[in-house]
């Protein structure tokens, strides 16, 4: 059972590598069930299409981590039949945090992107319905609670 699962896991790893090719900037398999890979922000929609449409992964969620110069976004994809989670990392400029929306590929990203926009201040180009999800509609512009430099007034 576990042997078969490992083989499927290897097969998926091979498929990810061949489908993304040169776009993979960094690839780490930290355990048989966890892979972290990094792609350029420009390639995020193509990567999402590979993960969702070609390999039938399930978008678990995406989360952003604020850093000194860059904001990191991690898209977590689950491959349930083989017990694998692939986290796709991408870094965007903190001063101009913009990235393409993946909602056309993955409708489940609707709320996820709205949440990241209002709490981390990331602009998702092409999101069809960008408005506040968790915060008030009249929440002040440019104040993002999960940023490191956010201060309560």
């Amino acid at each position: 059972m576990s042997g078969a699962a490992d083989n499927h896991g290897d097969e998926t790893v091979r498929q990810i590598k061949s489908a993304l090719g040169e776009r993979v900037l960094d690839f780490q398999q930290r355990s048989p069930k966890r892979i972290y890979l990094e792609v350029d922000a420009q390639n995020i929609t193509e990567t999402a299409a590979v993960m969702s449409d070609e390999l039938r992964g399930r978008l678990q969620t995406a989360s952003a981590v604020d850093g000194p110069q860059k904001i990191e976004i991690l898209y977590h994809w689950a491959f349930d039949s083989i017990g694998l989670v692939v986290s796709v990392r991408t870094r965007i400029d903190r001063e101009q945090p913009e990235i393409a929306s993946i909602t056309t590929i993955c409708p489940s990203a609707h709320w996820i992107e709205r949440e990241m926009w209002e709490l981390m201040g990331i602009t998702f180009a092409g999101h069809p319905d960008m408005r506040h999800l968790l915060l008030l509609d009249d929440w002040p512009d440019g104040k993002y609670p999960l940023r490191r430099d956010y201060r309560k007034d």
Binding site: R34, H76, L133, P145, L146
Partner: protein, 409 residues
């Protein structure tokens, strides 16, 4: 979404039936629901931000309070994320105790939902009986953990409290006493023509819709989507015991009821095997980690409502740099936007409740005050009346009075 001739029925911001803060705007044409908009954010508490200021042991207590019903599910995902980041190995005995508590929680959560579903449909007997036996489950929880809820059992590296061998037989007796009531629910609710008339073919979600929304848990399994984190990504003792993933195929309300009832029998199976294992698998219950290395980790667990997901980033200090929490209702609630379309207002009550939504889980983030106090809100009594009227009408048509819940025990 809002077209000409549509009327908006606001349900919320304080949901009149589920008694939690969220806001559904139902767009209706006559009796038919043609659209739905969901507003969240009436009860943000800032849990992710708070977590960055707490050390790893405190974080577990914090996430335990994300939700009162899933008070073991969030810690279960969180400790796994910390353990993965810190490369901590958990002793086997602790794994069995984790699964035992997790499954007790699943039974009481499913019974809670079953009771509410009965109430929303107009079968208050189902409500009373389901909650009466939920009390028995809470008594077992108290015996095992010391608390009826908010068990405080989990910690990074293991569990806080052992189950003494002398207790095991007594706990098993209490578990055995659940067989008869669960069978009663299975038979009477499954066979009742009136419940079938109210729930079959109502609020259908197809497997494609489930995939599109990324829906999880019993909601997905009722539509035949074969996912369960306990089997697919084994953790705690789930890879060490025998049990089955419960699947139905139609994706309607009836199948969502059946998935949850049948799952409780599997939970009992898991609990019995855990109790047996605890007699033979002895040893420490805690790896006592002294530090969490710099790194990152993912933890996910099959909560009663579906996969709960935690991501932790550690910089080697004693508190997380980033802690992301995603509860199952966050993925499940948007499915209402399609499940409710084309149905009547009388059925909307049960459809909106069918995913077993948990609003306090879905909203975790900042303190806000409701600014919209001038909304005309549909009162709980009105919604209930519509739902109950439909049941009464069907009763007359079918000449049947509803589930005959009797058990002489």
């Amino acid at each position: 979404m809002a077209k000409k001739k549509t009327t908006i029925i606001p349900v919320g911001p304080y949901h009149p039936l589920q008694e939690e803060p969220e806001f559904f705007k139902l767009y209706v044409e006559g009796e038919k629901v043609v659209g739905l908009d969901i507003e969240l954010g009436y009860n943000h508490r800032g849990v992710e931000k708070l977590s960055e200021g707490k050390d790893y042991e405190e974080t577990i207590f914090l996430v335990e309070r994300v939700c009162g019903i899933c008070s073991t599910s969030h810690p279960m995902a969180c400790v796994q994320a910390v353990e993965e980041a810190g490369e901590i190995v958990v002793p086997e005995r602790a794994l069995y105790i984790r699964s035992l508590v997790g499954e007790l929680e699943r039974i009481h959560s499913h019974l809670l939902w079953l009771g509410l579903a009965g109430h929303f449909l107009g079968f208050n007997t189902v409500w009373m009986w389901a909650w009466r036996y939920r009390e028995e489950v809470l008594n077992i929880c108290e015996r095992v953990t010391g608390n009826r809820n908010h068990y405080g059992m989990l910690k990074p590296g293991g569990v806080r409290r052992d189950i003494p061998p002398a207790e095991l037989a007594g706990i098993r007796e209490m578990i055995d006493a659940l067989d008869q009531p669960l069978n009663m629910f299975m038979n009477t609710i499954g066979d009742d023509p009136l419940i079938q008339a109210r729930t079959k073919g109502i609020g259908i979600l197809t497997a494609d819709q489930i995939r599109k929304f990324g829906a999880l848990g019993p909601t997905a399994r009722a539509s035949g989507v074969d996912i369960d984190v306990r089997r697919d990504h084994p953790h705690a003792a789930y890879g060490l015991v025998q049990w089955n993933v419960i699947l139905e195929s139609n994706g309607d309300i009836f199948d969502k009821i059946m998935v949850r009832i049948r799952e409780m029998f599997e939970s009992i199976r898991i609990i019995r095997q855990c109790l047996s294992a605890l007699q033979t698998v002895l040893g420490p219950i805690d790896a006592n980690p002294k530090e969490v290395k710099a790194g990152e980790g993912i933890g996910h667990y099959e909560a009663p409502r579906g996969e709960v997901f935690h991501y932790i980033r550690s910089d080697g200090s004693n508190r997380p740099v980033r802690h992301k929490i995603r509860a199952p209702s966050y993925m499940n609630v948007p499915t209402n936007q399609e499940a409710v379309i084309g149905e009547t207002i009388a059925d909307a009550t049960i459809i909106l409740a069918a995913v077993d939504p948990c609003y306090c889980c879905t909203e975790r983030m900042a303190a806000v005050v409701d600014p919209e106090t001038d909304h005309v809100v549909i009162a709980g009594k009105q919604l209930m009346r519509l739902a109950h009227e439909k049941t009464e009408r069907l009763k007359t048509e079918l000449g049947h009075v509803g589930p005959d819940l009797k058990w002489d025990g």
